[in-house]
Structures are given as structure tokens and as C-alpha cells.
């Protein structure tokens, strides 16, 4: 019983749903504020993302007449719960709070694809032709970035390093194992293979978050937010919360896998927060300085240069670089 209540606490309060939602809201404020500063505007107040969500949760939910109503309403919950669980595992490994199960890297990879699948199904279930276009683009984008993303994360798994004349292998699919390896052997990002893999992972995470230039599945000025077009009120609010929690998860996943997670003490926490904010601002700057690409350009980018660089990084990691 004690273990069950502990896990319920992990999933629902810290570092799961509640914590991740508030961190994500703060991070989406950073996103909007930095965007505003780049465009020489003043930007919204800190509380803005929270008000948006409260408003959406209180509005009327309309189910389109031509939609598959049960799926249309259930999928936001599927997306949100999947990403909340993924966020819990990533934050547990990053902060060393509690013990995530073995092989959680695979679980996280799977769970992080669920929100995209839910958006695809939701777009298809809405019965809207533009929703179908958005869903098909989302599907192609998922196929495109998943391959280099998995290879880039494998680079961290295959790391080995000589410390005190003994070779240490990361050799683990556990996120906390990778963090532990980096505590004895230094950050993975400091090595050539790790750095290349980190670059690839940045772009893949960017596409996963659906930011410009890879926002072609939403493309509000072209296909009117794509798969989310027909969603309103609380259902839309849940999808927005899903994106929020995803925003609170992806930079932390990158920091955990490539940049050593959270160190001990006050300075460790400060450095951890600094790394996350640095990656977030990098995302926002990429987002604000690039125009949207077409779906064929996105697929060529991820299956071409990105996959080649990721494979090169994997080769370097095997050579012990």
C-alpha cells in the first residue's frame, strides 16, 4: 500500500502532473516573452498561460456533428495522461527523486509518441478535412524525426569512457543509469559523439514540440491549427496542457541524457535550471528566426542530414570518442 500511494504521489503531484503543469506554464511564458522581445514587443504577463488554460477549461465543448464523439472526447485525456507519465519518469531521473523503473528510456520514448498519435486520431475523428490534412502531416513528421531521435539517444546508451585506467560503459537503458554514468565520467555533451547527438536531438525535440519551422501539422495560417481545428473548450485546454507538459519534459530529457542531470546542492539545482532555460531559449530563437518548411523538406531534413549525423555520432561512440 505504501508503494502505491508513493507512486500516486509521484504521478499526480511531484514530479508528475501538477508540478510538470506549473513548470510547463512557466516555460511557455518564457517562450512567449522571449518571442515578444525578439519581435521588439513587451509580451504577456507571467500569469498569461495559466489564465488561458483556466479560460479554456471553463468554455463550452462543442462536438461536431460529423465526428466520432467518443474518440474525439477521450483522446485529449489519453494524450495528457501519457505525457504526464513520461514527464514523471524524466523528472524523477533528472532530479534523483524516487527510483524510476529499469528501462525507462524505452518507456519514455514510447509515451512521448502517444500525444502525437492522439492528436492524429483526434484530427481524424473530428471529421474535418483540414484536420485530416493536419493529421497526415503530423504522422509523416513523427515518422521523420523518430528515427534520428532514437539513434541520438542510443549514442548516450553506447558511451564508454576510461576513468582511472578502468573503462566505464554507460550501457544502460535506464535514465538514472545514464545520469550516474555522467557523474563519474563527465557530461556526454563534452565528447564529439555526444555533441553531435545532442545537436540532432535538439532538432528532433524541436519537431516533437511542434515549433516553427516544424509546425506544419498545426500551421494556423494555412490549415487553421490542423488536427486541433475542431477542438474547443476543455478538450482543447487538455491538448494545450499536453503541449505544456511536453515543453516541461523535452528540455529536461535532453539535459538528463546528454548534460548530466541535476547535480548535488544549491549550485547543482541552479546549474540544472540554467541548462533547461538555455535549451528553452535556444528553441525559442530557432523558432523565431526560421520560416515554416514543407512536409517533404522536413522529411528530407530528418531522414537525410540528421540521420547521417546521428549514425556518425553512434560510430564515434563505438570508437570510444
Amino acid at each position: 500500500m505504501g508503494e502505491i500511494t508513493e507512486w500516486v504521489f509521484f504521478f499526480l503531484i511531484f514530479p508528475g502532473m501538477l508540478f510538470a503543469v506549473f513548470v510547463g506554464l512557466a516555460m511557455s511564458w518564457v517562450d512567449r516573452k522571449v518571442t515578444a522581445l525578439v519581435q521588439w514587443r513587451k509580451g504577456p504577463p507571467v500569469s498569461q498561460p495559466l489564465w488561458d488554460v483556466i479560460k479554456l477549461l471553463g468554455k463550452e465543448v462543442i462536438v461536431p456533428a460529423q465526428s466520432w464523439a467518443a474518440g474525439f472526447l477521450a483522446l485529449p485525456f489519453v494524450a495528457f495522461s501519457a505525457v504526464a507519465v513520461a514527464g514523471t519518469f524524466v523528472w524523477m531521473a533528472a532530479t534523483g527523486f524516487g527510483a524510476p523503473p529499469l528501462g525507462d528510456l524505452i518507456v519514455v520514448l514510447y509515451l512521448l509518441t502517444v500525444p502525437t498519435l492522439a492528436v492524429i486520431l483526434g484530427g481524424a475523428a473530428s471529421g474535418n478535412p483540414l484536420g485530416a490534412v493536419g493529421a497526415s502531416r503530423d504522422m509523416k513528421l513523427l515518422l521523420a524525426y523518430e528515427l534520428p531521435f532514437v539513434i541520438a539517444l542510443l549514442v548516450a546508451v553506447f558511451q564508454e569512457r576510461v576513468v582511472d585506467e578502468a573503462t566505464i560503459h554507460a550501457g544502460t537503458l535506464s535514465l538514472s543509469g545514464i545520469v550516474e554514468f555522467q557523474q563519474t565520467a563527465g557530461s556526454i555533451i563534452a565528447r564529439p559523439s555526444g555533441f553531435l547527438a545532442f545537436l540532432v536531438a535538439i532538432f528532433c525535440a524541436h519537431a516533437k514540440l511542434g515549433f516553427v519551422p516544424f509546425d506544419l501539422a498545426e500551421a494556423e495560417c494555412e490549415i487553421g491549427e490542423g488536427a486541433l481545428l475542431e477542438y474547443s473548450g476543455a478538450a482543447l485546454g487538455l491538448f494545450k496542457l499536453t503541449q505544456t507538459v511536453l515543453l516541461a519534459t523535452m528540455p529536461v530529457l535532453l539535459v538528463t541524457v546528454f548534460w548530466g542531470g541535476m547535480g548535488p546542492g544549491f549550485w547543482g539545482v541552479l546549474a540544472f535550471v540554467g541548462k533547461i532555460v538555455l535549451i528553452l531559449v535556444l528553441f525559442v530563437l530557432i523558432k523565431n528566426t526560421n520560416p515554416r518548411v514543407r512536409i517533404d523538406q522536413a522529411m528530407r531534413f530528418f531522414w537525410g542530414p540528421m540521420t547521417i549525423v546521428a549514425l556518425l555520432a553512434l560510430l564515434l561512440a563505438q570508437l570510444g570518442l
Binding site: 512567449r32 514587443r41 500569469s47 489564465w51 468554455k59 494556423e220 491549427e225 481545428l229 475542431e230
Partner: protein, 150 residues
């Protein structure tokens, strides 16, 4: 707008803090549309008040309407209005949207937007922002007045 008065006060406050707008041009001359775009620029920056331009009426709280409603635009405007989730409100931007302007009694128009909306939704809440075109300050003030009246 019965929902707005019966909703809890937290929701009402949130609604005032984040009005998402959907912009509909009902065959005007495009001048008011340009002034609406001006509201988003650094000088006016309506995102300070949480105003966001959205791409679907399903996501919107406020509909900005410019121009007189032509016969061809009448049904799409009514449909877009009914697609908006409650509580919802409309802002008529410009002289044509308020009172038909130069298009009064023209053969090709179906009437001013507020009249067209009230054909399908008698309770439609409308705010009027006159001018040809209205200044961005005027549009921002119209939205602020609307939020105060909610």
C-alpha cells in the same frame, strides 16, 4: 450570454484576461483588416492583455468582423458564429460593419453583420468600433470596453 453570468467568477476573470480573437472579413475593402494587423505590432502589442489571434472559430472568444456582409458571405459568417463556443461576443470594426457605410442599400449586400448574426442567434452580443478605418487605439479600446461589459 447566459453562461457568462452563471459561470464562476474565476472563469469570468480568466475570460477577461485571455480573449482569443478570430478575424472575419465579410467583403470589406481590407483597410480595417490592416488596422487589426497593426494592433499586433510592437507599438500596440495587444498580447500584453492576453489577446491572441487564432486560426479557428472553435478556439475563439471574440469575433472581429470587418466590412458589410455580402450575399455570398452571409451563410459562412453565420456558420462561423455558430461554431464559436459560448460565451462569445462580436466586435464590429469600421463604419461598414457598424452601419453599412458606403454600401447602404447596395444590391449585393445582405445587411450589417450584427443583423446577420442576430438572424441565427438573437442574443449575439455586439460591440461597435466606428471609423473608416478605426485607429488601432480605437479597436483596442473597443475590446477593452467589451471585456468590461462581460
Amino acid at each position: 450570454m447566459a453562461e457568462a453570468t452563471t459561470s464562476p467568477s474565476l472563469f469570468l476573470k480568466a475570460l477577461k484576461k485571455s480573449p482569443w480573437v478570430f478575424h472575419v472579413g465579410t467583403s470589406g475593402c481590407n483597410n480595417c483588416d490592416i488596422e487589426i494587423a497593426d494592433c499586433l505590432t510592437p507599438r500596440f502589442d495587444v498580447e500584453r492583455f492576453g489577446v491572441k489571434l487564432v486560426g479557428s472559430p472553435r478556439h475563439a472568444d471574440v469575433m472581429l468582423i470587418t466590412g458589410p456582409v455580402s450575399q455570398a458571405c452571409r451563410a459562412p459568417l453565420q456558420q462561423a458564429w455558430l461554431e464559436m463556443p459560448r460565451p462569445r461576443a462580436a466586435v464590429m470594426v469600421g463604419a461598414c460593419a457598424c452601419s453599412m457605410g458606403a454600401y447602404k442599400d447596395a444590391y449585393s449586400v445582405a445587411g450589417p453583420p450584427d443583423k446577420v448574426l442576430r438572424e441565427v442567434d438573437p442574443d449575439a452580443r455586439c460591440v461597435y468600433v466606428p471609423g473608416c478605418p478605426p485607429k488601432p487605439e480605437t479597436i483596442v479600446m473597443g475590446i477593452v470596453k467589451l471585456l468590461g461589459a462581460l
